[in-house]
Symmetry: C2
Subunit: 321 residues, 2 copies
Amino acid sequence: MIFDFFSEIRNELSVVEEELIKAVRSSDPLLTETATHLIKAGGKRLRPAFCLLGGKFANFELNRIVPLAVALELIHMATLVHDDVVDASLTRRGQPTVKAQLGNRISTHIGDYLLGKSLILISLYDDPLIPRVLAETSVKMSEGEILQIATTYDLDQNIKDYFYRINRKTALLISASCQLGAVACGAPRQLHQTLRRFGHYIGMAFQITDDILDMTAEQTKLGKPVGGDLRQGIITLPAIYALRKGSVRNRLQEIISKTDKSDQEIHEAIDLIIGCGGIDYADAISDKYIAKAKKELAGLPDVPVKKTMQIIAEFIGIRSF
Amino acid sequence: MIFDFFSEIRNELSVVEEELIKAVRSSDPLLTETATHLIKAGGKRLRPAFCLLGGKFANFELNRIVPLAVALELIHMATLVHDDVVDASLTRRGQPTVKAQLGNRISTHIGDYLLGKSLILISLYDDPLIPRVLAETSVKMSEGEILQIATTYDLDQNIKDYFYRINRKTALLISASCQLGAVACGAPRQLHQTLRRFGHYIGMAFQITDDILDMTAEQTKLGKPVGGDLRQGIITLPAIYALRKGSVRNRLQEIISKTDKSDQEIHEAIDLIIGCGGIDYADAISDKYIAKAKKELAGLPDVPVKKTMQIIAEFIGIRSF
């Protein structure tokens, strides 16, 4: 069964898609081709969708909101492309990994190019709140990335560190998308602040669920090997919880600390985490964020897309991919 | 003999220096430390200086111009940090180069962080021209970087390709610095457009001279081995000229095409380029740009810093480091 969460904004999303293609055009045909390829490779377009939905709570105007929706996706894409940059030390047995072969330098500059294109779109807006929120967001997103690198293999990090990190990594841009879509359509302060908080809670739940799925999803749905975070020493909420449990702590530490883990060790670590309740714990935290998101929704005007927002909030915590 | 080109704006430049340090502060102490270290490592602060000088042609106001001057240096620093990102293939004899050891991922995200901080400062300005010019500039700078990678080892590129590339790589941001300093201080359109053109010509001459010095400077002054561009397959103006000369073309092609060149081969290539007039040719082109810059200066009001601008124009073409 397929349910289209964005059926109410399907037409608007296809306009965003067309404008995304137009936005990355360059005078250099090769660059246009590479950037277009990146866009056509797909993505959930979650940020443009939240932006459009946010706008539907205010005086929705397609022409006003589309450049912003496109800019948000470009910022998101730029961070994905920059995440592809790897260290020389990540070469395996002397051979660069597939990602490294694509070219760190190209990834860096294409990410900058996409970011630059987003700045052009953002500079079209007169309301200074839009560039200001996005500038603050982009600084914090970089801080989050650097923090994630710095806390890799840090087995002593606590839950607060984790929340701080996933807010920067994911929630802030989703939050900005919900808020600024409304700002672009002339929403009063109280409305766009409520949407900002809604987006924050949804974004937190989204990333926690992502981190759970990294351990529990079927590999075919995930599209990558299970346990990728543990493999790279990225300690997420279920692992932080489990590492506090005396019964599993020592063995878990031992496995996670290894820089080269076997598939069997990864599965053992996941079983230890599940066994001591790490996944249930993370699920419960995600549910709390969803409850908070729904509470914010209650304060929003009864426009048709409000129902869509409610369904999205429900789905984020129960999705299996 | 030391001549301080920026003596007239020395106080203003120290304010910029203080604000640069403040601008990169993060809630993460390690990030603050790394970014502060990058700033304290120095740099000519050419872009802030041009920005301040541009402002002196209008209603100079320190508070109005400093955030922009800081933002311009942060953009420049971000591009330098991103230029440090290397490909896995650049490991030498299986060992990553020094740059690669510093961490491609950290370089990418620190560059993004500096860029984000510049966006915060830029978002303070009400005049939409400032974010718009800088957004266009940053897109074109990324295009220039990608083009430089794409044209590496391309022995058939022509002079037009080279100008296109160095405009994006260097001239555009210097041009924007001259123009926007004046814009931030309320300059009328004609004035900031003249400064924009002046900056373009100066920027082009600056990069051509840089490319000449890469072949002719003493290694101690250059701070890196002579012939670095040729070594990496970056074809600059003197080489493009020489590659058209039948007498040296074949041998020059042979050397430049090699991915692993000996010091002796680099020196032979440089001697071939000098011998057939490649350096003189590039010098003459640089002089033409300087003449154009001076012509633009003539149209500017007679403020005290005009003399400084003239001296800078003279110096750019004759500097030896």
